[in-house]
């Protein structure tokens, strides 16, 4: 918990915004590329990675807690 609360909230907000943009993008890609699987799967991978890293804090698994 080294970063400030406002910084953490801001990071969460920008991640959320990026997820929304990617969701709209994948909707557009599905229409433009007639449901092409590879690009849609890549977008899903990027979205999942963002959630796992920012929202789920996977890096805490190998971090030492002090409290």
């Amino acid at each position: 918990m080294s970063e400030s609360k406002s910084k953490a909230l801001r990071r969460g907000m920008w991640t959320f915004v990026a997820l929304m943009v990617l969701t709209i993008l994948e909707f557009g890609v599905a229409i433009a590329l007639r449901g092409s699987i590879i690009p849609l799967f890549l977008i899903a991978l990027i979205k999942a990675a963002m959630i796992v890293w920012v929202f789920m804090h996977i890096y805490r698994l190998w971090r030492e807690e002090s409290h």
Partner: protein, 214 residues
């Protein structure tokens, strides 16, 4: 009798000398939760694989707009959970309660979207312009349709569990059970909810967007 009571208290309530230090416990809790989620990946992954085997390069005619709205709702709920987790880590109990309650409400809205609109359990029919509001697939339509209900049904069951967990944590938070350093319940429930969101991140394009309409 009093001796028995004292011994019982030592074992169940007050004597924590046999427990590992909190940082070690917390690390074990996190590892256990991630291993649990990893095991769930195989289950959801198997259903996803079945979709590609059964549907291949095609997909049933589902309302892509309903899927999009449901996805946005679930993303909102995940964001609220993140905000709630951050709030409790910094000791802001009010913000935690507000955000977890909002997340539970949005999770319920997602469920309504799936069960009421997509599964169309009441057999309704309506549309706004070209957008069909209610789904028309039935579990009895064959194995291709069955996989749709297996994927959305199994995911919806996890959403129900997640909403219950969020509400339990909200209630515990209301009673003041969490402090900045001791909020594993909130973190665990949050991890579970985000995992449910990650599953949908893959299920949404697989069900609604990938492939040509059948």
């Amino acid at each position: 009798m009093s001796m028995v009571t004292t011994t019982s208290q030592e074992h169940h309530g007050e004597d924590h000398s046999h427990e590992p230090p909190w940082p070690v416990q917390l690390k074990s809790n996190r590892l256990g939760m991630w291993l649990f989620m990893f095991s769930e990946v195989f289950l959801f992954g198997a259903l996803l694989t079945a979709r590609f085997i059964l549907w291949g390069q095609f997909r049933p005619r589902l309302s892509q707009e309903i899927g999009l709205v449901a996805t946005v709702i679930l993303l909102f709920s995940s964001w609220f959970v993140y905000r709630g987790q951050t709030a409790i880590e910094f000791g802001d109990r009010k913000a935690f309660q507000r955000n977890f309650l909002l997340a539970a409400i949005f999770g319920t809205l997602f469920l309504i979207g799936v069960v009421f609109f997509e599964w169309n359990i009441f057999g309704l029919s309506a549309s706004i312009g070209p957008i069909e509001l209610f789904g028309h697939l039935k579990p009895s339509d064959g194995v291709e349709s069955g996989i749709f209900f297996a994927m959305t049904g199994w995911h919806a069951l996890h959403v129900v569990t997640g909403v219950m967990l969020l509400l339990i944590m909200w209630n515990k938070g209301r009673r003041g059970e969490f402090t900045p350093g001791r909020s594993w319940g909130v973190e665990g429930a949050g991890l579970y909810w985000h995992f449910v969101d990650v599953v949908w991140v893959f299920y949404y394009p697989a069900l609604y967007l990938m492939g040509l309409p059948m």
